[in-house]
C-alpha cells in the first residue's frame, strides 16, 4: 500500500473504444482513504445509465447534476439551479422558474433556459426510453422565456409539481446531438453538479472528483469512489478491512460494526413499505370483512423485530409514521378478537379445519412474492401464519415477475413501493381506481370513490390545509376498507467511517444506494478536525 499525495488535476476524458480507462492523475492506494478529503463507498448495484434523460437522478442528489430545485435534510424543497422557488400562477397551472446567475457546466459552458427546456422535452419525448416519463404527465408545455426563465404549463392544477423539478438538468450542447437511448452521454455525462465523473469501470466502480467551479462552493471531499459490490458479506468484509470507508448494509451485518469506534452506523427512515395487495376481483381477498380482519390480525411489531432486526417501523398505511402527512389517529393495535367478530358478523364461519367459510366458499387465497427476495419471503410467511390465527388460509408461493404479473388481478402479491417528495406521488398511483391494473399501478385494483375524490383534491388543490384534510381522509378510508395490508416501513442501514461532522440522512424512497444514505449531501461534509 503506498500513500500518494493527492494532486488536483483536470479529468481526462476516456477515449471512446479505448480499452484502458483513462483517469485523472490523482491519489491511489487505500491509505489515501484515511484522510477526510476522500471517501470510498460500497453499494450493491450500479446505475444502468448516468443520463438523467433516461431517469438517472430523477429524485435528486445525483452528484454530477443539479435540478431546478433540491431537498434539504428535512425533505423541504429549496432552490438549486433556480434562484428561488417557482412562481405559481394561473390557478396552479403555470410554474415559472428564474435561473441562478453565472452557473456553468463542468465543461465551462454557461447554463441557459434552453438546457432546461431541452432536458424536459427529451424526457417527455415518446422515442426516449425513459421509464419515469409518466411522473411528468401533467406537463403540457415547457418553454424558455429569455435566457433565464423557464415556464411550465400544466394540463391541470397540480400542487405537487414543484417536487418533480428536482430532475437533473443536462447540457444541450453535449447531449443534444446524440441518441438519448444509447449515446455516449449515458456513460460520460457532463453536468453542473458538485462532482465530475472521472471514470466508470462497469461492474467495478465509479470515481468522481470535486468540481472546483461548483456554484455552491467547491466540496471539501475532493474524491468520491462508489465501488460496486453485489454480495452483502463481501461488502461488509471489505469495509472491515479498510478497503471501503462506508457501505450500504443489511441490518444484521450493520450490527456487527457496533463496537467499532472509528465507524458510525446511520439508520435512515424511509417511505419503503412492504404490503400485501388484496385484489378487488378476488371473492375472498376483495371482501371488506376479510380485508379488515387481516388488517387487525397481523402482528406488525413482531415483523419489525423479527424480520427486520428492529430496523423498521410498523406500517399503518402507505405513509410512514414520521411523515408530516401521516394521520396520527390511524395507528391501531393488533386485535384478533375483533378480527374474529368482524368475520362472524359477515358470515365467515369457522369450519372443522379451523378455516372459515361463507356460502360454501373457504376463506382462502394465494399470496405471491418475487423469488429470491428474502425479506419479502419472511413477510409473506409471517402474514400467512397471522392470517391462519384468524381462520384465513393464505397460500404462499414464490415466482418471477414474469409469472406474477398476469395473476395480479386475482392473486395477492407481497409488494414494495414508496415515493418521497409528496404524498400524491406514492398514493395516486397506488389507490386511484382509474389506474387499476395499469401496469404496476394500483396492483390491488383498489376502487373506492371516496378515496378517488380525496386523491383528486389532494392533487389539484393549492391550499395546504385542504390537501392535508384530503390525505387524512384517505388514510382513514384505508382503515375502513384496507385494499392493501400495510405491514412495515423498512429502514435503510449505512455504516461510515467517523471522519466528518454532523452527518444526516433523508427519508428515503423505495430505491436506495447512490443518492441516499449519509452521502446524500457529500458535497457539504466537513472534516471533524
Amino acid at each position: 500500500m503506498t500513500t500518494r499525495r493527492i494532486r488536483g488535476a483536470a479529468a481526462a476524458v476516456a477515449m471512446a473504444g479505448a480499452v484502458a480507462a483513462c483517469s485523472a492523475p490523482g491519489s491511489g492506494g487505500a491509505d489515501g482513504a484515511a484522510s477526510a478529503d476522500s471517501v470510498v463507498i460500497g453499494v450493491p448495484t450500479e446505475p444502468d445509465t448516468l443520463s438523467p434523460l433516461l431517469g438517472y437522478g430523477k429524485d435528486g442528489n445525483s452528484k454530477i447534476f443539479d435540478g431546478l430545485l433540491a431537498r434539504d435534510a428535512g425533505m423541504e424543497l429549496k432552490p438549486a439551479l433556480a434562484k428561488a422557488l417557482p412562481e405559481i400562477t394561473d390557478g396552479g397551472r403555470t410554474y415559472t422558474y428564474t435561473l441562478r446567475d453565472g452557473v456553468r457546466f463542468s465543461d465551462g459552458e454557461p447554463l441557459t433556459a434552453d438546457d432546461v427546456v431541452f432536458t424536459y422535452r427529451t424526457v417527455l419525448d415518446d422515442k426516449t426510453n425513459n421509464t419515469a416519463k409518466s411522473e411528468l404527465a401533467a406537463v403540457e408545455e415547457v418553454r424558455a422565456d429569455g435566457d433565464d426563465k423557464v415556464v411550465f404549463t400544466l394540463a391541470h392544477p397540480y400542487a405537487a409539481f414543484a417536487a418533480r423539478t428536482v430532475l437533473p438538468v443536462v447540457p444541450e450542447h453535449v447531449a443534444g446531438g446524440q441518441d438519448p437511448n444509447t449515446g455516449s452521454f449515458n456513460t460520460r455525462p457532463v453536468g453542473t453538479g458538485p462532482y465530475v465523473l472521472t471514470g466508470w469501470s462497469k461492474g467495478e466502480k465509479l470515481t468522481f472528483k470535486a468540481n472546483p467551479d461548483y456554484w455552491g462552493g467547491e466540496p471539501k471531499v475532493k474524491k468520491l469512489t462508489m465501488a460496486i459490490i453485489a454480495d452483502d458479506d463481501v461488502r461488509a468484509t471489505r469495509l472491515r478491512s479498510g478497503d471501503l470507508d462506508g457501505a450500504t448494509l443489511p441490518p444484521n451485518l450493520a450490527a456487527t460494526f457496533k463496537g467499532d469506534d472509528d465507524k458510525k452506523t446511520y439508520r435512515a427512515t424511509s417511505y419503503d413499505f412492504r404490503a400485501v395487495t388484496l385484489p378487488t376481483g378476488n371473492p375472498v381477498a376483495g371482501d371488506t370483512a376479510i380485508r379488515r380482519a387481516l388488517d387487525l390480525a397481523v402482528d406488525r411489531r413482531a415483523m419489525v423485530d423479527k424480520i427486520l432486526d428492529g430496523a423498521g417501523r410498523p406500517a399503518y398505511g402507505p405513509l410512514p409514521v414520521d411523515d408530516p402527512w401521516f394521520a396520527k389517529d390511524v395507528e391501531r393495535p393488533r386485535d384478533l378478537t375483533e378480527a374474529g367478530r368482524i368475520l362472524d358478523e359477515a358470515g365467515w364461519k369457522s369450519g372443522k379445519d379451523g378455516i372459515r367459510a361463507k356460502d360454501g366458499r373457504p376463506a382462502r387465497f394465494t399470496l405471491y412474492y418475487p423469488s429470491g427476495d428474502k425479506v419479502r419471503q419472511d413477510h409473506a410467511l409471517a402474514y400467512a401464519s397471522d392470517a391462519k390465527k384468524a381462520g384465513i388460509d393464505v397460500r404462499v408461493e414464490s415466482a418471477t415477475w414474469e409469472v406474477i404479473e398476469p395473476r395480479m388481478n386475482h392473486d395477492a402479491v407481497l409488494a414494495g413501493f414508496g415515493s418521497t417528495g409528496d404524498p400524491d406521488f406514492g398514493l395516486y398511483t397506488l389507490l386511484h381506481s382509474s389506474l387499476a391494473g395499469d401496469g404496476f399501478n394500483n396492483m390491488a385494483r383498489y376502487d373506492n370513490p371516496a378515496v378517488d375524490e380525496a386523491l383528486d383534491t389532494g392533487r389539484r388543490s393549492q391550499d395546504t390545509q385542504a390537501r392535508e384534510a384530503a390525505y387524512d381522509d384517505i388514510q382513514r378510508e384505508l382503515v375502513k376498507n384496507p385494499g392493501y395490508t400495510f405491514l412495515t416501513h423498512i429502514d435503510h442501514m449505512y455504516v461510515l467511517a467517523d471522519r466528518w461532522k454532523d452527518l444526516t440522512t433523508q427519508t428515503e424512497p423505495h430505491e436506495h444506494g447512490f443518492a441516499s444514505g449519509p452521502w446524500w449531501n457529500v458535497e457539504d461534509w466537513r472534516p471533524r478536525t
Partner: protein, 322 residues
C-alpha cells in the same frame, strides 16, 4: 497449413450463421421479458403506457427472424447495433471489456498449461509413487470442485484470513488509475482460480502421455544408450507425451469461457461476463448475438490452433489431409 486455415475459415461461416440464428431463436423463446429487464426496478412501478412505449421502442414484438436478418446485415456492414440494456453501442460494450477478459483467460491458460505440464511430468516419472498418487488425487478433487466455490474459498483464504491479495476489482478501490502493478496484483487471484479449474485436465493428460512415452521403444533405446535421465525425459518422452495436450488446448476453450464468466462475477472483474449474463437475461439481441459470435469464434480458433500445432509437432500428421 494455409489451405487448412482457409478451409476452416470457410467452414466457420455457416457455423457462425447457425449459432447467431440459434441465439436469436432461443432468446425469443425464453421466458424473460426484455421490457422489464430494460427498465429494471423502475418497471415494477411503471404504468402500462410506459411499458407499451418501451415495448414499441425496443422493437420487442417483431419476429426474431426479421430482427436476426437486420442485425446480420448491419453487422456485416461493420455496425454491431445498439445494446438496449447497456444503453450504449455493442461495439463499445465489447471494446471496454474484452481486453480484461482476454487478459484473464490468457494468464489463466498459460498458468494452467505450464503448471499442468510440470505436475504431469513429475507424476509420470515414477508411476505409483507417493508424489504421483498425491498429484493424481489432487487433480481428481479439483476437477470435481465448482469454480465459484473455489473462487469464494480463495477470497476467504487469501484476502480475508491472510490479507495478502485483494478480494476483487481491477485496481485498488480508492485508486482511479489503472497501473501495471495494481492490475497484476489484482489479477493473481482470479487468474489463479481459473487456472486451477483447468489444471486437472492438463496434469492428467500430460501424466498419461509422458507415462506412455516412457514405456515406448525410442525412450528405452535412449536409456540403453546411457543418455541422462533428463535428456530422456525432456528430449524424448515429453515431446511425444505433450501431443495429447495440444488437442486438449482446443477443446478446453469453451470450458475456459464459462469458467471465466463465473470467476469474473465473483471477483467484480470488469470483463465481458457481467455483460453476457445481463444480455442473456434481458434478451438483448444485438449484444447477445455479438457475444455468442465471439465465443464461437474463440472455440473454432482454439480448435484450429490445436490442429495446426499438432501438425507441426507430430510428423505423422499431414495437415493437407485434415
Amino acid at each position: 497449413m494455409a489451405r487448412l486455415t482457409a478451409r476452416r475459415a470457410l467452414f466457420a461461416v455457416p457455423v457462425l450463421l447457425v449459432v447467431t440464428f440459434g441465439v436469436f431463436a432461443v432468446a425469443a423463446a425464453s421466458p424473460f421479458d426484455p421490457v422489464k429487464a430494460y427498465a429494471g426496478t423502475a418497471a415494477l412501478g411503471a404504468d402500462q403506457e410506459t411499458l407499451d412505449r418501451l415495448r414499441e421502442n425496443l422493437g420487442v414484438d417483431r419476429p426474431f427472424t426479421a430482427r436476426w436478418w437486420d442485425w446480420l446485415t448491419s453487422a456485416l456492414g461493420g455496425d454491431l447495433g445498439q445494446s438496449a440494456v447497456m444503453r450504449q453501442p455493442v461495439a463499445e460494450v465489447i471494446g471496454e471489456r474484452l481486453f480484461w477478459s482476454a487478459l484473464l483467460c490468457a494468464a489463466a491458460f498459460a498458468a494452467a498449461v505450464l503448471l499442468g505440464t510440470v505436475l504431469g511430468v513429475l507424476a509420470a516419472r515414477r508411476p505409483g509413487s507417493l508424489l504421483d498418487r498425491a498429484v493424481t488425487s489432487l487433480a481428481y478433487t479439483l476437477e470435481a470442485a465448482p469454480v465459484f466455490w473455489t473462487a469464494l474459498l480463495a477470497v476467504w483464504l487469501f484476502a480475508l484470513q491472510l490479507d495478502v491479495l485483494p478480494a476483487g476489482g481491477l485496481t485498488d478501490t480508492g485508486s482511479d488509475q489503472v497501473t501495471f502493478g495494481q492490475v497484476t496484483s489484482h489479477l493473481i487471484l482470479p487468474a489463479g482460480v481459473l487456472a486451477v479449474s483447468q489444471l486437472p485436465w492438463f496434469t492428467l493428460y500430460v501424466r498419461q502421455g509422458v507415462g506412455d512415452a516412457l514405456a515406448e521403444d525410442p525412450v528405452r533405446g535412449a536409456r540403453a544408450r546411457g543418455l541422462s535421465e533428463r535428456t530422456v525425459l525432456l528430449g524424448h518422452a515429453l515431446r511425444s507425451g505433450l501431443l495429447p495436450v495440444l488437442t486438449l488446448i482446443g477443446s478446453r476453450v469453451p470450458e475456459l469461457i464459462t469458467g471465466a464468466l463465473l470467476v469474473e462475477t465473483v471477483f467484480s472483474w470488469p470483463g465481458i461476463a457481467a455483460a453476457t449474463v445481463e444480455a442473456a437475461t434481458s434478451v438483448d439481441f444485438p449484444l447477445l448475438a455479438a457475444l455468442a459470435t465471439l465465443a464461437t469464434a474463440a472455440v473454432l480458433a482454439g480448435n484450429l490452433l490445436a490442429d495446426l500445432l499438432y501438425g507441426l509437432a507430430d510428423p505423422r500428421v499431414k495437415l493437407n489431409e485434415m
